[in-house]
Symmetry: C2
Subunit: 309 residues, 2 copies
């Protein structure tokens, strides 16, 4: 195999009570990437469509992730990367994670899969580090593994895959305003009231139990966030209005996707997910803010191979 074309999906990180430890994989929105082997032992980015991103390998999340993997595997070739960006950078649905994970996945395939998908995570995280100055895994893990992923621990890195109930859907609205990750980090408190921290662990236990037993009501009852949402909600226009509209339309729960500005809602079944998309959009119809809506089942596979040559 000399060339591979892949679909590298968007992801929702944090997921209310899963702040900083949970992520899930979307199915209907993602980047397309083409990676091909070259004789020259170099990593170059040859094409970027969709959005304006740096071509210089060391300044591009896909490039940085590729370099870290190449440095580790020391293959007898180089790589050319084409990035066809469909996920808007800064949307809060894992745009950088898709590029970084997609690249390491593609290179690993081209080299005959020397590493497992889990083993690729630390290399994809190098791209995240460039994008957000933090080595976080809650977007790259669900891109690579699909489904829900839990980062139990960073030191050592311990990622647990969790299957999603069959009828679980995600609706995401991306209101096109800028929420800087650095700003979203700055508003977080350094310490949390012990009672709230206990409530969060209770809800986390409930959410994981609900996922394992396909108990949609329990999933819904558990979707609360004491750590970030109370502090970040005000950074996102209409957040409370959108969340309330989602819950009224039958969402199991709703919260901030990543560090925003996207807002997600989980629901049982496609019809409810679509209805939620409608009420989400209505919240922005009489504003000057543009938005995208994504409606998706949980992607159980992660990255998909579209073509190989």
């Amino acid at each position: 195999m000399n060339e591979i074309k892949i679909f590298s999906p968007a992801t929702v990180a944090n997921i209310s009570c899963g702040f900083d430890v949970l992520g899930l994989c979307l199915d209907t929105v993602g980047d397309e990437m083409v990676v091909r082997k070259t004789n020259e032992k170099k990593v170059t980015i040859t094409k970027i469509t969709g959005y304006d991103l740096p071509f210089e390998t060391r300044n591009n999340v896909a490039g940085v992730a590729a370099l870290s993997l190449v440095e580790h595997l020391k293959p007898n070739c180089g790589f050319e990367i084409e990035i066809h960006k469909k996920i808007k950078p800064g949307s809060g649905i894992g745009s950088s994670a898709a590029s970084a994970s997609g690249t390491v996945f593609a290179i690993n395939e081209l080299l005959g899969k020397p590493l497992s998908l889990k083993e690729l995570i630390p290399f994809a995280m190098k791209g995240e580090e460039l994008a957000s100055k933090a080595l976080h895994a809650d977007n790259v893990a669900p891109v690579l593994l699909g489904n829900f992923t839990l980062i139990r621990s960073y030191n050592p890195l311990d990622v647990i895959g969790i299957s999603a109930p069959e009828e679980l859907y995600v609706t995401v609205i991306h209101p096109q305003v800028e929420v800087k990750t650095s700003e979203a980090r700055k508003v977080l408190p350094k310490a949390i009231d012990l009672k709230k921290a206990i409530a969060q662990t209770g809800n986390m236990g409930g959410l994981i139990s609900g996922l394992f037993t396909s108990n949609y009501d329990l999933i819904g009852r558990s979707l609360h966030d004491e750590f970030a949402e109370p502090y970040r909600a005000s950074l996102i226009p209409n957040f409370n209005k959108v969340k309330e509209a989602c819950l009224n339309a039958g969402a199991l729960g709703s919260g901030i996707s990543g560090s925003g500005p996207s807002i997600f809602a989980l629901s049982k079944g496609k019809d409810v997910a679509k209805k939620i998309g409608k009420v989400m959009s209505e919240c922005f119809n009489n504003t000057a803010i543009d938005y995208d809506i994504h409606i998706s089942k949980i992607n159980t596979n992660g990255i998909k191979i579209l073509e190989t040559n």
Copy 2:
């Protein structure tokens, strides 16, 4: 049915990362109780063996729990309660919870089960309130439901039963020193570093995932407590020594049972559980402190009916 004799088991609450939200049910240690219907519409405690506890109904955890249930159900009879106490009060393995839960279970049986086991929890909690001035459910829930129980939320009360992997064993040492629950509460911090709170939710997700998938290693990797153990460890003689000995002997994890002084360890299989009991006891062999050791599978049923008449 006019009379029922039951075995009401001891429990381990908190379970490291499950501080204040998780509990599990033991199988080899518990109180025996006899409850019988009387014509006179009164609740009386007629016999207490094992330990010296108050006979006055309103001063006894079993009495108080019984009264709250009777007030709710308004049966056309009264009840006599015999308590054959085997769980030492103040041991940290749910002595008061066994008495309170056992009584409401027995009365419910005698009345033809008007309430479900989950519905009995709030009445048993009334006994806990008398014992510790707090309406907590993390011991009474596993007594009534067996297995592991998660208190997802107190307001509203939302208790989730979680089955245990088949080979999971618990070893408990009860060093006979007094740790007052009020003292153990006092040393807890009011607020927790956000990073530690996130680590706790990650471990909670890991523990619940491990229980659902019978992944013993993951259960072990998740058994850390950032909320209480760092503050309470010094209240329990030899805690760190015992914990280290347990881990060296092959325990999946170890921590404080309830608010102490008992220390628990989880393990895979009976042989390791027994070995842990041995190394636990060795930690106290050259001290003036007496101790009890309990080795038990997870009790999947909770309270057991021994006899009915």
